[in-house]
Amino acid sequence: MIPADQFYAPADGPPQQGDILLAGVARLVAEDRFTPPQWSPLDAYDVTVSSTGAVNGEIRLATGPALVMVTSHDCHFDKDWNRRRSALIKDGVAEADAERLADEDASLDRTFTASPLLRPDDLQVDRGNLMAGRVLGYLPVPPSADGLVPEAVVDLTYRVTLDRLDIVRVASVSAAARGQLRYALTRLDSLRAVTVGFEIEAVVGRHIEAVTFLSSNPLLVRLELDDGSVIELLQQPTDPGEGPARPAPPGPAA
């Protein structure tokens, strides 16, 4: 985990990825209103909307206040604004006027996504691994010097959509912390093994074009590099580890 003095940054300016906010969170729940134990602190209220069109006539929410970390990329907060600015300029509006008109449009770039912060002890995960940032889906957060953010982890598996005009910023984070967030998001949402190939490429200094192995000899892994060379990795045979097995049935052995 990044030390607090390197994790946090001055909280000013426009919203940024990694900002820690005070906001509400909500998620849809089933009829039994099940809450995973680690989310119990988030589910302060049960809201039921009875209406036609809803499944079984009801929409059920679990909601409550929370500290959240912005997961949307910085450029997300400028997406509509840039489009509008460009369109106005294309229509002949002067650049300064186009930016002013876009600034005045409160409907632009209103929504973004965020994930809530949880107490590490509320998760049934090894605390050491969790705070070292080794558990997929969680980003460790050190306590802030001003005491507004306690030691926590961002639960990236809980994602909410918020309105930019309905939040308060508690803290901003450094580029290094933001980098960790992006890495954690990538690992969670898209690339489970994002580093393996990159690490090997970094060692050999070439781009890996293909990775193959022969079904006749699965211990041999061939790395085909972009310069045409091939690296063969031979896995050392060992005894198979202890795998999953059914316990022996009770009673006398057959």
């Binding site: 209220y45 809201v47 929370a66 450029c75 907060f77 400028d78 107490r119 306690p150 910023r169």
Partner: protein, 237 residues
Amino acid sequence: MTMLDAAPTSSSVRAHRHGEIELVHGLITAAVFGTSAGISLHTNLRNDIFGPTTVPAVEQRAAAVAADEVRRLRDDICRRGLTRQDVARGIGVDRRSLSGYVSGEINPQPERLDALRILARVTREIEAERPTRVRDVLLMSRGEDRLLDAIGSGRYAVATAWRTWLVRLEAHVDVRPRAAVGDQIWAGAVRALADGRLSAPTGAHTVRNPETYEMDVTEASSFEEEPVTDGRRRGYR
């Protein structure tokens, strides 16, 4: 022809209550057709046999019958909480016209009678399920529209499906606090907010190259997962 009384057995001309003569038709139809059941031909006969002087009598009779029905339905609806003004609005006329229907001075158009019957039916149904709330329901708005006006404008399907209208309007929200679990991680921030130490991010924007918001999905091939077949391992190219 439903406005006609049961066929009498003798012919006569009697004074109508509004001073018009009324043909009692039993013998005529019996004489012409040998039966008193052919009353539906009465209208044609009146012109053929008695000439136009009988038309006002028949129409007056129809108006009187309609007036009776209008009065009965109007009173029935008003007993359930609507005003006469509401009833007039519900059938798409002004209050004077409704009074004219009741007095028999104006013969209501069939569509007005239909609207009145629908309104009466809907008010009966609403009262059965939501006593004392008939007027509230009929005047509940959805946007600019009201159920009462739906009837008046001939949208009977909307009116007869009033429960759907009502349910949508009456979407009910129930909020219940749960027992607090753990300490509130946000408590310090709330105190800071109350002290005025926190604020929202500014609205400043950054000019970005349009390419920032574009992508070429064909480039995603480098992220394609390899199937486990054909000897290749599962992974990323």
